[in-house]
């Protein structure tokens, strides 16, 4: 066992971890943040996506120990109290979910995308989010949600 210190959803956090513990295990079991899901454990399905220093990461592949000193944001940390993050709001408005198991990962991936590219083309969205599988087949609505969220985040002045 060892201890790491990092920031989770804006809070300085320290946690006891096993050497082989993944970030996903630490978040779900240690910190009880259950929004990130394990779908495949090999970094392919994207349902465990969280932001590490602003970039989307498959938390099932990252060792918890490598989160030392980093800033981690999960789906639970996006909303400001009851006010949803614009990406969450866009997914809700577009009904960009069905079973919902992949939704947190898709939202975190979208936040990462729009952080890097405020006005992505549809091809860029498809490319960036191709690592987030939605087996219910909600892709049309996801594209719509990403587009709407991008527009909101750019604000009225953004073209």
């Amino acid at each position: 066992m060892g201890t790491i210190g990092f920031t989770v959803n804006g809070r300085a956090t320290s946690a006891e971890i096993r050497p082989n513990e993944t970030l996903l295990e630490l978040l779900r079991d240690g910190l009880q943040l259950k929004g990130a899901k394990e779908g495949c454990s090999v970094g392919v399905c994207g349902s465990c996506t969280v932001l590490v220093d602003g970039r989307p990461v498959s938390s099932c592949l990252m060792l918890a120990t490598n989160a030392e000193g980093k800033e981690v944001v999960t789906i639970e940390g996006l909303a400001d109290g009851e006010r949803l993050h614009p990406v969450q709001q866009a997914f809700l408005d577009a009904t960009a979910f069905q079973c919902g198991f992949c939704t947190a990962g898709l939202i975190m991936g979208t936040v990462g995308l729009l952080h890097e590219n405020a006005d992505p083309s549809e091809e860029e969205v498809k490319d960036y989010l191709s690592g987030n599988i939605c087996r219910c087949g909600t892709y049309l609505e996801v594209l719509q949600a990403v587009k709407a969220a991008a527009a909101t985040l750019r604000g009225p002045g953004g073209a």
């Binding site: 082989n20 259950k34 929004g35 899901k37 779908g39 454990s41 639970e76 079973c99 198991f101 594209l143």
Partner: protein, 793 residues
């Protein structure tokens, strides 16, 4: 009760009666907020005090006798609290389960039948300890010959998988429509006979014969199977599970443990997709057993690799022979469909039967003969999968329709329309067809994709086109599919004094949006705002029996119950309001929880006033409940009778571009039309349609579980490719047709899987139209196209 066609006009309920405008609109989903905030709870998120983690030891052999299982070293590992092996089951009366045939043991007893077959299970403080303990269990096997596929299974001298004769406990009435076999690799067989096919072939001007195959594919629901079992008393089991069948699962657990059903409580939280994979017992028996042995709550959540080893879609080999007249009338069709159900029957006998009687397609044919075989092999068990046995046969008959059209020089659309069954025709099973918008669906997709009539000149030009560069083509397909019949659903409904309502139902929210749609139906009939209606999650201690959340039956069957239960409450409300308003109940309407006299809105009372009148103050509840049982059944030798309570209807059209240099298929357009009966929530119906299309797109172009002598070669997401955003067709179109059904609530039928059936043949026909390569084995890979282009077969 299901109604005969002549009673149609009186059944169901019409919207004009209620006029709240809630049914028919894209009401927002009730589960949105928890899903976008990560607060939605799935079974793997649940924890109980003192809960242990369970892990399963699985066979590495496809077929072997189990000589010895020694778990003593595993049991001695610190942190391990229980190891379940066959020794624990030795003195138990019921250790086998299965929805049709009790052929699947909780853990292996004398043999293992596929790679992944559970042999033992460990409950430990942590998952890593449980995994370590699995390595300490010693198992000695004697390998047996491997039965690789359907043909090998039926070959003389094939090794027999199931040596003991299992007791088919016929719970489901439709199992009388097929023949279950004993001590044979043939698990079951069903037949369809009408007319005399030999006579039909003799009369035909053209006879065409083909064999089409489909590989095993994965459901790939992103939430793996999971269960959490807790024995709060030695005779009372509470189990949380992501099952699609809480009621049936409860019955099977009660049978396994010799308990009254009321001593098993099955709770289903939100479910992260299933598409059929979570029907019937999967993980529940082993989790419950392990928890019982440990004396503590145990949760098992499968790894993705284990999901691959739990359930899949039936591979198929289907031979079809069709006789047709020179002017394009189908005269005779004979089919032999061989479904590979893997190591255990699961629901395979029904899948096979249901594929069988629709194998001639939705066409008028005087002479048909079908044999549909469900066959055991040493592979992953196959069960229900979106489309339920019908993709396997529609892939075949719809591709053959295009070949027949070309041979006759006819347009494929015209050939289909000429033969397509319509309202009032008798289906191959002898029943009269109603509420079947096949023609409407087919014409809609053809129009939408810009179908160009294939005449002699078209065919001549197509034949002469050089097979180079990028070539485009279009294809069509249409299908008909039954729903589980007979089947039973029940619901109860409660209206509270403040005008809120609660639907108690065992329908599972698996992503399809059932809770939203059932709330719409309740709100419409009760006249309350839809936001005021809460729909339960299944909890068998409280929610009444429902046979299954599958077969696209929930809106039709459960929706029917909610509507009828709502009517019961509505009548009570109207009677009380009529007294207060000194009006006749027939003259009253309810909207926004206010009862008023039609035409005189000022004469009104609120629902709360009605409760005051009844109970002296604003408190209490009004109750309603309803059951709906559909009727039907087929003769096991001829398949004649009534197959279904309603028909799923869909048609699809594809436009593709085939790169003749690389063999790659780009799907430019994919359009699916389905007959909803009545669209209760347009967005929800469209999303179910899109989902069906994209699942089928994967199975058409990229997905295949590959086995080598029973060993799975690509059982994880690293090796098994799924459609991502980048695999979306250039345009994905969805069309909803409404051909109301008398028994459906407001005329509604099921929409959850119809379009999954027509995508493969639509794409296959488009590929053929583009480059002249007829693919008969899915998936349609670049390699297969290049082989076809080079004449390598």
């Amino acid at each position: 009760m299901a109604l005969a066609p002549q009673d149609r006009a009186t059944a169901g309920g019409t919207l004009t009666e209620y006029d709240c405008g809630i049914v028919g609109t894209s009401v927002s989903r009730s589960d949105g907020l928890e899903k976008v905030t990560g607060r939605a709870v799935y079974v793997g998120d649940l924890e109980l005090p003192r809960m242990l983690q369970g892990k399963i030891l699985r066979s590495l052999h496809p077929h072997a006798r189990v000589l010895r299982v020694d778990a003593s070293r595993a049991a001695a590992l610190p942190g391990v609290h229980a190891v379940l092996t066959r020794d624990d089951l030795a003195d138990q009366p019921n250790v086998y389960y299965g929805p049709v045939v009790r052929d699947q043991p909780v853990v292996a007893i004398d043999k293992v039948l596929y790679v992944g077959d559970p042999v033992a299970a460990v409950a430990a403080d942590r998952e890593d300890i449980a995994l370590e303990a699995l390595d300490l269990i010693e198992v000695e096997y004697a390998e047996l010959p491997v039965v690789e596929d359907q043909d090998a299974a039926l070959a003389p001298g094939a090794a027999l998988l199931h040596e003991r004769s299992s007791q088919p406990r016929v719970v489901f009435a439709d199992m009388k429509s097929l023949h279950l076999q004993q001590e044979s690799n043939l698990c079951s067989i069903s037949h369809l006979r009408k007319g005399n096919v030999e006579e039909g072939f003799r009369l035909a001007d053209l006879v065409v014969e083909d064999t089409y195959t489909m590989p095993m594919v994965q459901h790939a629901h992103i939430e793996p199977h999971g269960a959490l079992a807790h024995w709060d008393r030695p005779d009372h089991l509470t189990i949380w599970s992501c099952t699609q069948n809480p009621s049936v699962n409860r019955a099977q657990l009660a049978e396994l443990f010799g308990l009254p059903e009321g001593r098993v409580r099955l709770i289903v939280p939100l479910v992260g997709g299933g598409y059929g994979a979570k029907t019937y017992p999967k993980l529940e028996p082993i989790t419950a057993w392990l928890a019982r042995k440990a004396g503590r709550p145990v949760r098992i959540v499968l790894s993705r690799e284990e999901v691959f080893q739990t359930i899949a879609r039936h591979p198929s080999k289907v031979w079809i022979k069709t006789g047709v007249s020179h002017d394009g009338r189908l005269l005779a069709r004979q089919v032999e469909a061989r479904y590979d159900t893997g190591a255990y029957a699961d629901i395979g006998p029904r899948t096979t039967k249901n594929g069988g009687y629709v194998a001639p397609g939705p066409y008028r044919i005087d002479h048909v003969s079908v044999d549909s075989l469900c066959i055991y092999t040493n592979k992953t068990p196959a069960g229900a999968f979106r489309g339920f046995g019908v993709p396997q046969v529609a892939w075949n008959y719809e591709c053959q329709m295009d070949d027949i059209a070309e041979r006759l020089g006819m347009d494929p659309l015209e050939l289909r329309l000429k033969n397509l069954m319509v309202e009032g025709d008798r289906f191959h099973t002898g029943e009269e067809l109603f509420s079947v918008g096949m023609k409407e669906c087919l014409e809609a997709v053809a129009r939408d994709i810009g179908w160009q009539r294939h005449d002699a000149a078209y065919y001549a030009a197509r034949r002469q086109r050089p097979r180079t560069g990028k070539l485009r083509g279009k294809g069509l397909a249409v299908m008909i599919k039954s729903t589980m019949t007979p089947s039973l659903s029940s619901a109860s409904l409660r209206l509270d004094a403040d005008g809120s309502a609660t639907v108690m139902t065992s329908t599972v929210e698996i992503g399809q949006g059932c809770r939203t749609v059932l709330a719409q139906i309740a709100a419409e009939v009760l006249g309350v705002p839809v936001e005021r209606v809460t729909v339960s999650l299944p909890d068998t201690d409280f929610t009444p029996y429902d046979q299954s959340t599958s077969s696209s039956r929930s809106v039709f069957s459960m929706g029917h119950c909610v509507l009828e239960a709502g009517k019961e409450i509505r009548e009570q409300v109207l009677a009380l309001a009529a007294e207060a308003l000194e009006a006749s109940p027939e003259d009253l309407q309810i909207r926004d929880a206010v009862v008023s006299v039609r035409g005189s809105p000022e004469r009104s009372v609120t629902i709360t006033d009605v409760f005051r009148r009844r109970h002296g103050s604003a408190m209490g509840s009004l109750f309603g409940s309803s059951s709906f049982q559909s009727n039907g059944g087929l003769d096991p030798d001829t398949g004649q009778g009534k197959a279904t309570a309603f028909w799923h209807i869909a048609a699809g059209a594809a436009e593709v571009e085939v790169d003749c240099e690389t063999g790659r298929v780009a799907v430019l357009q994919l359009v699916a039309a389905l007959d909803t009966g009545k669209t209760i929530n347009p967005l929800g119906c469209n999303m179910q349609n899109e989902g069906s299309v994209l699942t089928a797109l994967g199975a058409s172009l990229m997905e295949e579980m590959i086995f080598d002598r029973g060993q799975p070669l690509n059982g994880s997401f690293l090796e098994y490719n799924l459609p991502s955003l980048k695999d979306m067709p250039g345009r994905l179109g969805t069309i909803l047709i409404e051909q109301p059904h008398p028994d459906g609530p407001f005329g509604a039928k099921g929409v959850g899987e119809s379009s999954s059936v027509i995508i493969a043949p639509a794409i296959g026909n488009a590929v053929y139209d583009a480059c002249g390569v007829r693919i008969k084995t899915l998936p349609i890979t670049p390699e297969r196209i290049l082989r076809g282009l080079r004449g390598l077969g």
